[in-house]
């Protein structure tokens, strides 16, 4: 499974989005698509499980989780990808 596929699977399972994940573009605002702050915590923890790392404190900001593209950037930064 690619990084993007894993991110989309995590969002489908934990993002509590109001729209299907397949309809989201790379830059679609996830909070605008219905993801709450609490859901973003679940997404963060599920991403850590999926990619086997822990987000650093400086990554724990709203912008890290605002879009699939932003999440990919954060994941690749943390995993050295």
């Amino acid at each position: 499974m690619t990084v993007d596929e894993t991110i989309r699977q995590v969002l489908a399972e934990h993002g509590r989005l109001a729209v299907p994940v397949d309809s989201l573009g790379d830059d679609t605002d996830l909070f605008g698509a219905g993801m709450t702050s609490h859901a973003s915590v679940n997404v963060m923890l599920a991403l850590e499980d999926a990619f086997d790392f822990e987000f650093s404190e400086k990554m724990l900001k709203k912008s890290t989780f605002e879009s699939i593209g932003a999440i990919r950037t954060g994941v690749l930064e943390m995993t050295g990808g």
């Binding site: 609490h38 915590v41 679940n42 923890l45 404190e57 724990l60 709203k62």
Partner: protein, 145 residues
Amino acid sequence: MSASTSETLRVGMDLISIEEVAASVDHFGDRYVMRLFTPHEIETCRTGGCAARGRDAYAVDSLAARFAAKEAVVKVLRPVEMQPDWRSIEIHRMTGGWCEIRLSGQAAELAAEAGIGELTVSLSHETSVAGAVVVGRCLERERGV
């Protein structure tokens, strides 16, 4: 030029599904709890014995109310970019049963920048939903000519 201060109020409120929090505790366990809550909050909400796991280990309605209160505090602090660590906002249960808000770290810095000198909170929960209202007293410095 003279300077004066004016007092304003900021209000934040939040609601959350208790089942949503319970499901997170079930799925992520103590890792979820420890990323969001301070040792005091965990101690206050822990109900099960050492062998209890998932939602059986905590009063999830109380955890949900505390998360709602933290989110309400964030709404009062109005961060532009950096989201304060959830644990830098503590809902501290007093001996009498009411709760106070204690800030540290990034949350305390945001409050200081906004001139927020006092925060008060009210928590509530019923069968399926928990909520909180937070009021912040904000002293803003105004410059006159």
